[in-house]
Every structure is written in C-alpha cells, then in structure tokens.
C-alpha cells in the first residue's frame, strides 16, 4: 500500500495514520475499546450496527447485525475473524492487518462480547501472522480483553477463505468448504454456533462501537453506507490499497491510484470471481452494488484491475480461468470436471482455433449454481463477463488476429492447484 491517497477519498479511520500500530499508538488514536458491556448495552450495540448498515466486506455482503443476532441467540458460540484473503490479486485484508492489527482485534473481541463467545480465533494470511500474533500477545500482557484470542495461520488457496472452509481448516486442517445446511451460525466450529466475519468488517465494527451509526453513514450511499477497502492494480500508476466511500465513481477511484498511464480497455471488478466491464461503460459508474448491477458486476471483495487497451482480455481470462479450475476443492463433480472443461474452451478462444462457443455456453450453464460453495458460480460469472466484454475479440482471434499482446497483468500463483 502506498500511504498517498489512502484517506484522500474519504478521510476515514481504518488507517491509524503515521503513528505506530502498537497498542499504545492504537489507544492514543482511537481511545480504549468499549468493553464489559451489559446485556442491554450489547443489544443496543447490535441495533446500532444494524442502523449503521454494515455489511460483510469479504465479498458476500451479508448484513453484519443479522449475523451477530443469529449467533448471539445460540448457546456457547465462537467467533472467527477471517483474514485468509485467498484471492491472489487482493491485498486489502493483509494491509489492514499489518497497519491496524488492534482495530481488527478490537472488532473480534467486540463480536465475541456481542454474541456471548468466550473465544475468538483470528485466522490470518501468513504474511501478517507475526504482526497480528504480536498484537494479540501485547493485549494479553496488558490484560486488555476478557475474551481469549487465538491467532492461526490461514490455509492457502482460492477457496480457503470461504466461511465454511475456514471452519473446517481450524477443525480438521482441511481448507475445503462444507455443505449448507447446517448454517455456521447454528452449527459451525465443533458444532458451536459460529460467527465468521471478514477482518475488515470487524475493524468497521470496532469503529461503529466508538463513533456510532450516524458517523458510519456519513460516508457511502444511503443504501450502501460506509467506506470499504479496495485493491487497485493493473494499468494504474500507483497500484495499492485504498479506503474509499462506497459509491465512489470508478474513474475517480482510478485517479486516486494516480490514474492510468495509457488508455484502458476494461476493468475487472470485485475479484477473480467478479466480472469484466468495458472501461468506457464502467468508469462513470459508482463502485457499489447498485451502481454496477446492470453491468453484471459488484464490489465483491474490493478488487479493481485495470486492463490497458493493448492487452488481450481473452488471454488474461484464460490464465485466470485455468488457475480457478486448479483451485477447485474437487469435492463437487460439476466444478471438478466442468471448470477444467470450460478453461480448455477459453484457452481455445484465446488461441483462436478449435473453440466451440456453443459448447462453452452449454458448460457454463451446466456448472452455474451446482456446487457446494460459490466457487463454480464465480468462475462462470468471470467467463460470461469476458464473453460480453471481449466479444469482438473472439471473432478477431478466430480470424488469427489479436488486438493485444499477453498482459500477464493479474497475478496467478505458480504451482497453484490442489
């Protein structure tokens, strides 16, 4: 992350500023976290979170207050802070945990108090394991929390961040999603009602507990209030993580990353499970669910990747799709067999020979919505959006012409696959 521009769009507080991220610096910046709440105070705070309109920042966007209330209704629940960040192009959770570990831990402790959980498990990407572990140790030495904090290193892999996969990782060391029902809020970690919240969501919770719903809603749109962290990468001068008000116009958002050095062709929005949109169509749009819905896109986990005009969108999509196929947990037939089949067709489209677009569409339809988790649906969304956005390229490639070279813009981990 570059410090420049982090707060420029919003002047918000997820970033503690230039001071140190240790407990003393954190407390000086934000004040002590609310703690020792009585029953009425807990109920009032959950209601305040509901008024704030906070939603999950991991990609699914579920209302946080509803999840808190559902888990609080159960017996002896547990809280899991999800900092797995399995999306290889995203960095926002790691940046947040490195810069503001105590804000995340405040949120995890608060979530535990609000739900009546005695412990919170903090599952973090290995890059920030040490920072978060030290922050937790610092709190333990200070005797700050009544809740037990355990820091665990997350599993790697694209699907490892899905809530049920995180639970299974902690419980069995297997980072694969499990079937729904039961819902985790009813029966999760070792059968206990389990709250799984993305680490950024918990940081927002820690701020709402201090500053209230009205403050939270002073940024964002009435329907989608607050700020969110985004990762901007690709053809921008200053790639990195930004905190933006939800609904910030995409063109402005690219300006916050110091703009594109060359004309843009398309934007990949949300994540690798997200959607491509033509740059000309998308750049005037607000970065929000409402602003992107008719483009078939959404804010997802906050990824914005800019594809320059001289890069090959089909080639990029083929690389990502090959990666996603390899990242299937392999538990469900349509995903295990369908994603490699689809990836093969996208490869052929990009190579410009032997592609069968009719068969590709048939397979997209046969895979969509037919897994135990969201992985196949996300891969299908990506490929469908590529067919919409790069449709003219499909024709050109079939005629042996490609407007761009391989961009290799989006990171795809080597040795991926399971």
């Amino acid at each position: 992350m570059t410090g420049a521009g982090l707060l420029a769009g919003s002047r918000r507080l997820l970033h503690p500023g230039p001071g140190r991220a240790d407990l003393a610096g954190h407390t000086a910046r934000y004040g002590p976290p609310p703690s020792g709440l009585g029953r009425l105070e807990r109920e009032a705070l959950i209601a305040e979170v509901g008024r704030a309109g906070l939603t999950g920042r991991g990609g699914a966007g579920f209302p946080t207050a509803r999840k808190l209330a559902a888990v609080a209704a159960g017996h002896a629940p547990v809280v899991i802070a999800n900092g797995t960040e399995g999306e290889p192009a995203s960095a926002k959770d790691r940046v947040l945990m490195a810069r503001s570990p105590h804000l995340v831990l405040d949120g995890a402790v608060l979530a535990a108090e609000l739900t009546g959980a005695g412990r919170a498990v903090i599952v973090v990407h290995r890059d920030v394991r040490e920072i978060v572990g030290e922050a937790a140790a610092e709190r333990a030495r200070a005797g700050l929390d009544q809740v037990r904090l355990e820091v665990r290193t997350a599993a790697e892999g694209f699907v490892a961040g899905q809530a049920s996969a995180v639970v299974r990782w902690i419980q069995q060391g297997v980072p694969s999603p499990t079937a729904t029902p039961p819902r985790l809020a009813q029966r999760g970690l070792r059968g206990a009602p389990t709250l799984v919240q993305n680490v950024e969501t918990l940081a927002h919770l820690a701020l709402i507990a201090r500053y209230g719903a009205t403050w939270f809603r002073s940024a964002g749109t009435p329907a989608e209030p607050g700020t969110m962290l985004v990762t901007v990468l690709g053809a921008v001068r200053q790639p990195g993580v930004l905190e933006i008000a939800i609904g910030t116009q995409l063109g402005h958002l690219l300006d916050l990353a110091d703009g594109a050095p060359a004309p843009l062709q398309a934007l990949l929005l949300g994540g690798y499970f997200g959607a491509w949109a033509a740059a000309a169509k998308a750049s005037g749009r607000p970065f929000s669910s409402a602003g992107l819905a008719d483009l078939g896109a959404g804010p997802g986990a906050g990824l914005i990747a800019a594809l320059p005009a001289d890069a090959c969108g089909l080639g990029e999509t083929a690389r990502i799709m090959r990666y996603l196929a390899g990242e299937s947990a392999g538990q469900c037939g349509p995903c295990r067999f369908g994603l490699p089949a689809i990836a093969g067709q996208v490869d052929r489209l990009a190579a410009g020979h032997d592609a069968d677009p009719g068969l590709l569409r048939r397979w997209l339809g046969q895979v969509d919505g037919r897994g135990g988790c969201a992985h196949p649906d996300g891969a299908v969304r990506l490929v469908r959006s590529a067919l919409r956005t790069f449709g003219a390229d499909v024709e050109r490639h079939a005629e042996g012409r490609c407007s761009g070279g391989p961009a290799h813009m989006l990171p795809v981990p080597r040795g991926g696959g399971r």
Binding site: T178, A185, L195, G333, G338, G372
Partner: protein
Amino acid sequence: MTGSARLRVDFIACDGRGLCAAALPELITLDDWGFPIVSSRDVPSRLLGDVRATVRACPRLALRLDARAGGHDRSA
C-alpha cells in the same frame, strides 16, 4: 407444504452414479459429466411419492426434498 417442495442435490456428497436420473427422468437429467441436474420448479404433488422413494434410494444420500422453497445463503 405440498406445492412448495423442491429437490436439492448435495454436490459434495454426490458422486454421479446417476440412479436418480434413471428413476425420475421427469425431474432429473444428467450433465455432460454424469451429475444430476434437478428441476428448479416445485415438485408436482402427483410425483411426491416417486420423489421420496428416489431420495431414499440415493446411495450417497445426496438428494433431499426441501419443504420450503427459496435459495440458500452460503455466507453463514
């Protein structure tokens, strides 16, 4: 309850043996890899008996009849 029950597949449990599609072609077909595609419409009441028998017969216990319609939420 009748009229609002739908078939669901637990794809983690399913291993594509295909018995269900053979037993209940009115509601279940197979995809190109041999895994069941179930009708997303409500199960007609005249088929409820056959559906229950097919659900019981699945060797992987991967089929179920959901009494209440509606999508499922995977977020929690």
